[in-house]
Amino acid sequence: MAKTAKITVDGKTYEVDATKNLLEVCLSLKLDLPYFCWHPAMGSVGACRQCAVKKFRDENDKVGKLFMACMEPIVDGMIISIQDAEAKEFRKGVIEWLMTNHPHDCPVCDEGGECHLQDMTVMTGHDYRRYRFKKRTYKNQYLGPFINHEMNRCIQCYRCVRYYRDYAGGKDFDVFGVHNTVYFGRHEDGVLENEFSGNLVEVCPTGVFTDKTLGKHYTRKWDQTYAPSICVHCSVGCNTIAAERYGLLRRVQSRYNGEVNGYFLCDRGRFGYEFVNSPKRIRKPLRKNKETRQFEELGSEDALKYIRKLLSDSKRIIGIGSARASLESNFTLLSFVEKQNFYWGESDRNIQLIQKQYDILRNGPARTPSLRDIEKCDVVIVLGEDLTNTAPMIALALRQSVRQEPVQSATPYRIPHWQDQAVRELTQDEKGPIFIATPLATRLDEISETYRAAADDIARLGFMVANSFSDRSPLVSGATDEQKKLSGKISEALKKAKRPLIIAGPSLQSEAVIEAAANIANAMITSGKTCELCFTVPEVNSMGMAMMDITHQGIESAFEALKNKPADTLIILENDLYRRAEEQAVDSFLGKFKNVIVLDYLENSTSLKADAVLSSGSFAESDGTFVNNEGRAQRFYQVYDAGENIKESWRWLRDIMLNSGLHEFGKWKILSDFTNALSKAMPVFDGINNITPPPGFRIAGEKIPREPFRYSGRTAMFANKSVHEPKPPEDIDSPLSFTMEGYRGKPPSSIIPFFWSPGWNSQQAINKYQIEIGGALHGGDPGKRLIEPKSGKTPAFFTKIPQAFSPRNGDWFVVPVYHIFGSEELSVNAPGINELTPKPYVMISSEDAGSLGLTSEKQIELEAQGKTYSLPAKLNLGLPKGLIGIPKGLPGMPEIKTGSWVRLKMG
């Protein structure tokens, strides 16, 4: 706490943080004070008049005056009253006004039961409608596959528009109209463009914006089974709450973690969950019939017997791990096949890059920041990453960090920083310095200074900046004027920065870019400044894989190794090899094995080629640990028990090992046994067992229930199947239970299944779980940072500067184009995401297209790796000459290697 003050609330004196506003302070003190327009992430505007409290001049003042708590700065010795009769009457009156137009459609409203407006209405005591006239009605809009719009329910708190425009930087949503007919929406029907629109569902205090995917299989908040989970759709590792009923995953919500995602999630994370319910799910172990080449379903016992038969006569087993599988699953496979036979199922190139990033963070002096830290940085340089599409939540964090510097200008005017409207009026469009160097235009360009170039030129720019801080980073010769001007500007900004940040990543497949980023950070630190260094990685557990003690060999190495030393059995863990390497290479690789065993949860090209498929649990049916790009180990727990045919990969592998006579693994029974063994075998993971309480953890002798205490229908849910009430499944791996019985208080921060507090049924109940509003959860934010910077050592500098990129005549250099909706393997199986996934295409700069006489959407023939593909062209303004953009991972899109040269023929 920076500055403290003593205030008196209803006769009781508290010591509070003086930099906050009165509403925040009251909520931090866990006092119940209704509010609407204020949101902890967005500050105060004082629009809804709901948080009125009485303020008294001194002890002798018995009359007092009404003030809006969210607009009141804390003054030492302040005397206020929340319970004052006049204040209460006022708040009740405000609700009554809001309710004059609010429809009584709670029974069909998705928000019903978790509605902030319902909570506040009950809290203020308004219970009878006196207004006898017609309610105002609106037409609703189509806002895309994710968000449902029901404008009649609006109470004009303005949170949505403040979130969408001010916080998330959206453009296609606004407030229209005047007086009593204010309208929040788009100028016309259409899909919301912003990638963070899903947060409107949680930001809206009532049911104007609701989750359309939940609406398709609607279940009330109290009827869902929840578990603390981790988003699997990128490397940031946002904390989520996943909810289930009847074995169907119903929705994903943000799980507050003050250090990671805070209150928000991106749309891929929020709506990508539906892949779990996809018809492509593998729900039972499969065996390929040798004659018909068709899959047959097996029971789990039979499957294990069959696999035992396959393994019994195999001499050498190769294991391929995966960065979308948990640490435990990879470790179990590693223990089974042993280190020399274990390959990380990623391309060799990617592994080199990720490994390099990890080495830089591990050995270098630069600290890797959490998402919250990124928000607080004031100067940011992004090298080569299109963050909105590769690590979306970092992009949202950057939209906050550009405000760091302008907000400071409010201090001399004595405007507190939480005074959102005043600060925005003062700062207008001012933005803090942020520089983005990418080949393609990004969504963040509007807030940044940009540099469009190929990877090598981006790296050269980075090296130039590094050189301006330290001579130990080499001088770049032959720089263009543009580069010189820009690098000078960047150095200037960095010198002034209080908390600079460099972001880079492997998406351009360029080592030089990563090295340049590291050099900038190292050079700044050696010159006595601070600098943080953030790397994105391709998948949810890529960083964890880099940290594991494995040979760090990829797919191509596995192909090579097989040529020298044959093997007969292949075990593939949650990996689609066809996304990692060329089709023919994978085909011939798989063809060399007698037995191919796949553990996965979605049918894919690799699983179709397998001889046996074991039905692994997705994140919703498994427990495990992921390490995010920051190096934070985080645990996720299964939401529901999917029956004996779906098991965690590590449990399947353990069973296979026991079946093969490796009895020493019999002692690995529950998750913590696996995690313990892992941290013993690899000291880098020391302590990850303690990131969540042990399975034996109890509060007052009770487990933590996954279900709210008013979970309904227990004796009727499965009665149509059997009238005998089934015994609830037991969870041996965690201190969570699958039932509604258990400890009713607040669980430890790392295993919060859902947010709820008496009187607070909405997500706003998070207030009650935080030590201070917007700060850490009680008991500390979950997760454990495994990478800390090495200080005191002089960092190593990279010295190899790449040649400047020069376009070739007739050949095109491939740069990857990532799509938030489409590039990620799992989320494309969610119907909503699939709807927004672009069709395959190639991207050409408008300039090049002009010289080729090419127009948009025209088919062109692309010759790559000896193959010809016909794809429609898309023109792009910013793309530098000689580069061609190839979308990554889109369904139906051929895999064309980044960094290779391709030829074009007009179709």
């Binding site: 009584h104 029974p107 069909v108 039961g113 309904s712 227990r714 009727a716 849910m717 149509n720 009238v723």
Partner: protein, 164 residues
């Protein structure tokens, strides 16, 4: 334990026994000529008053659609956790309908909370008290058994309008 003393000793006529017998027989004889109050169930069915809480049923409107919008409040309030509602979407004005609505009638305690909490007057307590099952599976009432045409429920709906 001391023997409790009688308040009053028998009178002579009582002690004589016969007159008392005659008195009793006389009473029987008198009732033989009075109107009957016993209902001869099951030949004669009892028609309960509107306030009677029989098995809960779902109101089916005249157009054949159920009133229920599957809000789930009955399931939530049910103290026996006996109601299960699975919502689905419809193009009708009401937006949602129960795809599945099941009451475990072994568990139901006829408390009427579901009726009380229902915002649509869609679940009401009927006059139906004849609940006999040959086996426990028959006691799971789905929509087929729960839906009752509104015409048969006028009494109860009238009662709710007056007294709820």
């Amino acid at each position: 334990m001391p023997v409790k003393k009688r308040k009053k000793d028998f009178t002579l006529s009582e002690k004589l026994y016969i007159p008392e017998i005659m008195k009793g027989l006389g009473l029987t004889l008198k009732h033989m000529f009075k109107p009957k109050v016993t209902m001869e169930y099951p030949e004669v069915k009892f028609n309960p008053p509107a306030a009677f809480r029989g098995r809960p049923v779902l109101v089916q409107e005249e157009n054949g659609v159920e009133r229920c919008v599957a809000c789930g409040l009955c399931a939530r309030v049910c103290p026996a956790l006996a109601i299960e509602v699975q919502a689905s979407e419809t193009n009708l004005d009401k937006e949602r309908f129960p795809e599945r609505f099941e009451i475990n009638m072994i568990r139901c305690i006829f408390c009427g909370f579901c009726e009380e909490v229902c915002p649509e007057e869609a679940i009401v307590m009927s006059k139906d008290y004849e609940l006999v099952f040959r086996n426990r599976n028959d006691a799971i009432f789905g929509k087929d058994k729960l839906l009752v045409p509104i015409a048969k429920l006028h009494d109860r709906l009238e009662f709710l309008r007056n007294f709820k």
